[in-house]
């Protein structure tokens, strides 16, 4: 025990000398800290895009909600149902019921062109026709300004994300649908979820405007519980009058976001890893020169009886501390710069825009710090070993 304490206090005092000597080589140390911060900013920044996109896609999908598509369809775009099938789905076991009947909304999904505010170029904005149960089958849908559209009238409400990213979606303005103009009467939020990217109107109105007759593209339902999903799914898939695909909303949107999140994550990790390699070389340089300028000090300590292991560990701790400084700086910068940064991108599955906010989540910050620590440890190891292996006798006289 005493030996261990003694050893720890050896390490502690060497670390202290190292840290105290930082002001003398502040240039090189600052370069390393900022370099590592740069790596962490890029890693966290790029991954926050993927995290934010995924969060937007899955935020408003409760575990007890489901989506029904035509069998073989991967997205609402290519799905379709008639009025009769929609009724069968709404009446299936497992669907929750409200005062006005089953909590089931048959919906239409089309795209309209609206200019992006930031660039002025056209973007594909989703226009969704919904039924009255639509607000009940999604979580936390709230009108934040204006009012709900009136059923049966050519009016729309607009998700907060869409209103922010695309021009001409303020309450009181009109959107062009074909040759008609429909007034925007309200703005809603959906807990940051994908519905916030959409423009909503009455499904019946949209059917009329797009000559869709009595057809729908998807059915969103609220189930009695998350466990009721299997019952609901089995009832629909075994019904010979239907040929459908049943998914939890959360799974459906997670799948839709998968390609993009995977692409961004892969690229982010690749870029950050390469940068990290570069930063390791930088950290190695800093620590090698830190060790070189302290050759005599380290030899003196060893002459005084400090152990070789203590010196290696102390130098690694020193390098780790520098790296953690960089990691913390990078994490803070990334958080300040990217968290809640509003953006919009294309959801390739539905060919339409999804508005989302970059999300610098705690796990991402942890990843950033872990990467910084790795850079520090690798950057410290070789120089520390070199320092501990110097022959004391000659190093004592080094200038």
């Amino acid at each position: 025990m005493n030996t261990l304490m003694n050893w720890l206090s050896q390490i502690g005092s060497i670390v202290k000398f190292g840290l105290l000597s930082i002001p003398q080589r502040r240039g090189a140390v600052a370069a390393t800290v900022i370099g590592i911060a740069g790596v962490v900013v890029v890693l966290v920044g790029v991954l926050s895009i993927a995290a934010g996109f995924r969060r937007a896609m899955t935020a408003s999908a409760a575990p007890d909600s489901a989506i029904v598509l035509r069998s073989g369809a991967d997205t609402e775009m290519v799905s379709g149902f008639g009025r009769d099938q929609v009724r069968l789905i709404a009446d299936a076991p497992g669907v929750a019921r409200g005062p006005k009947g089953p909590l089931s909304s048959a919906e239409l999904f089309v795209i309209i062109n609206l200019p992006k505010r930031s660039t002025g170029t056209d973007a594909n904005v989703p226009l969704r026709g919904v039924e009255p149960a639509a607000t009940a089958v999604r979580d936390q849908l709230t009108l934040v300004s204006g009012r709900m559209f009136e059923w049966g009238r050519t009016e729309v409400i607009v998700g907060a994300g869409a209103a922010r990213e695309f021009a001409g979606l303020e309450v009181g303005s009109q959107i062009k649908v074909g040759r008609a103009s429909w007034p925007v009467v309200g703005i809603f939020t959906a807990n940051g979820g994908v519905a916030e990217s959409e423009v909503w109107t009455d499904a019946a109105v949209l059917q009329g405007a797009y000559n869709r007759g009595q057809s729908f593209q998807s059915v969103y339902t609220r189930l009695t519980s998350a466990e009721a999903f299997q019952t609901f799914k089995d009832a629909l898939t075994t019904n010979p009058q239907l040929s459908v695909k049943v998914l939890r909303q959360s799974d459906y949107y997670a799948e839709q976001s998968e390609t993009l999140t995977r692409l961004i994550t892969t690229l982010g990790v690749l870029i950050a890893s390469l940068m990290a390699i570069g930063a390791v070389f930088g950290a190695l340089n800093t620590m090698y020169s830190a060790v070189a300028t302290r050759t005599r000090e380290i030899a003196t300590l060893r002459a005084l009886g400090f152990g070789r292991g203590a010196i290696v560990i102390a130098l690694m701790v020193e390098s780790l501390v520098i790296a953690l400084l960089g990691g913390a700086l990078g994490g803070a910068l990334a958080y300040a710069a990217f968290n809640n940064f509003q953006a919009a991108t294309m959801n390739w599955q539905s060919f339409s825009q999804v508005t989302f906010a970059f999300a610098v989540t705690p796990p991402l910050l942890v990843q950033g710090i872990v990467l910084a620590s790795l850079i520090g440890l690798i950057g410290g190891l070789l120089p520390a070993i070199r320092a501990a292996r110097q022959p004391i006798a000659s190093a004592l006289r080094e200038l």
Partner: protein
């Protein structure tokens, strides 16, 4: 360069440090190459667009279809040279993850419209003769190891429940380095006949128009939109470049993101290299003093230090760019998601420029420090 041995000797003095610095510069330039290629993959369509081509689509959105009959009406507009249409097929080959584009087209005018698609004449003739024939770009053919004569089964939920079978009659190459050689094209007449009832028979996705005089492109675009004004399917016509740009911008501001990342990378490397250089100079102040004492001019000392930093940047950067080129020469690493992925010559040249800038910027401060050195002070530190 009679001082070459001196510069080289100085770099060799601390071999490890030189190597580490070299490697971090190398990594920066590999990243530069990869990021340029990614940017190209996402926004490259803009540059590949023909100046004489216009894209005509449904005014409400690209997913709404336009009547086939518009083709003849557009051909009658003065200044219009050629009109072809394409339709998004959205098919799946074996697995939804095997994404690539397949569009039905009219073979003859389509090939005339797109000279960047290079198809051997024999294969072209075969396509004209085979109703179920399809051609595919080199990239996709290699990806799935397709050969001419193969039968390709593809399903498309948009156009019906059936599985479509196409006879591969040709594999085309791109005329330019950046040409997308992932799409498959097959015959519109076959498509129109075989698509399910109620799935828009007689309707097509979008049109491409070639104008006789590119300088009149904007005017002709206006004429086309006027032609269909107040009809059930109004159009929006714009140059192919603008269309591609709007697409790219829908993905997000790629150029800004890439520039941001590269900014962070180079800032980092600049710091690392710069601090190494100034350290190298600090360690040698005495020697630099000796050089001055034996008659080197301040400019020569400045030059020596700059030569050293530029050699480092040039070596590291050159190797990095070469490595990036090797890594990107095989094109898209994601297997279909980024068909236009390539490292352009223009970006390569920009990289070379960046090498020089990096060398000068990292060397400048230490070099000035070395130049201003007073001999007496420096010698005392020997």
């Amino acid at each position: 360069m009679k001082y070459a041995h001196l510069v080289w000797g100085n770099l060799k003095r601390k071999k490890l440090r030189t190597l580490l610095t070299l490697l971090s510069i190398l990594v920066a330039f590999v990243l530069f190459g990869l990021l340029c290629s990614i940017r190209q993959a996402l926004v490259g369509g803009v540059e590949l667009a023909g100046a004489d081509r216009l894209v005509v689509r449904h005014k409400v959105s690209i997913i709404q279809l336009l009547p086939e009959s518009y083709q003849a009406r557009m051909e009658r507009i003065p200044g219009v040279d050629l009109v072809v249409h394409q339709t998004w097929f959205g098919g799946v080959y074996q697995d939804p993850k095997n994404f690539f584009m397949q569009n039905p087209v009219q073979p003859e005018p389509f090939l005339a419209m797109h000279p960047e698609i290079v198809l051997p004449p024999a294969q072209r003739d075969a396509w004209l003769k085979t109703r179920t024939g399809a051609i595919v770009g080199r990239t996709t053919a290699e990806r799935f190891q397709w050969k001419v004569g193969d039968r390709i089964p593809i399903r498309s939920p948009i156009w019906g429940q059936r599985t479509w079978e196409f006879d591969l009659v040709g594999i085309y190459e791109g005329r330019d380095k950046g040409t997308d050689t992932t799409p498959m094209f097959f015959r519109y007449d076959y498509f129109d006949e075989m698509r399910e009832e109620g799935r828009g028979r007689g309707l097509v996705g979008w049109y491409t128009i070639r104008v006789k005089d590119p300088s009149r492109a904007a005017e002709i675009a206006r004429l086309v939109d006027q032609e269909f004004e107040n009809s059930p399917a109004e159009t929006k016509t714009e140059p192919e470049g603008a269309f591609a740009q709007a697409w790219a911008r829908q993905i997000g501001n790629i150029t800004l993101i890439v520039a941001g990342i590269l900014g962070a990378v180079f800032f980092t490397i600049l710091l690392v290299t710069g601090s190494t250089m100034s350290q190298a100079v600090r360690e040698r102040i005495g020697e630099l003093g000796v050089l001055k004492a034996i008659g080197f001019t301040p400019a020569q000392v400045l030059g020596l230090v700059l030569a050293e930093s530029c050699t480092l940047a040039g070596l590291g950067g050159g190797l990095g760019l070469a490595l990036a080129w090797l890594l990107t020469v095989n094109g898209d690493p994601t297997g279909g998601l980024l068909p236009l992925f390539n490292f352009r010559t223009a970006d390569l040249l920009l990289g070379v420029g960046l090498c020089v800038v990096l060398g000068v910027v990292t060397g400048l401060l230490p070099a000035l420090q070395a130049m201003r050195l007073r001999v007496a002070d420096a010698l005392r530190r020997l």
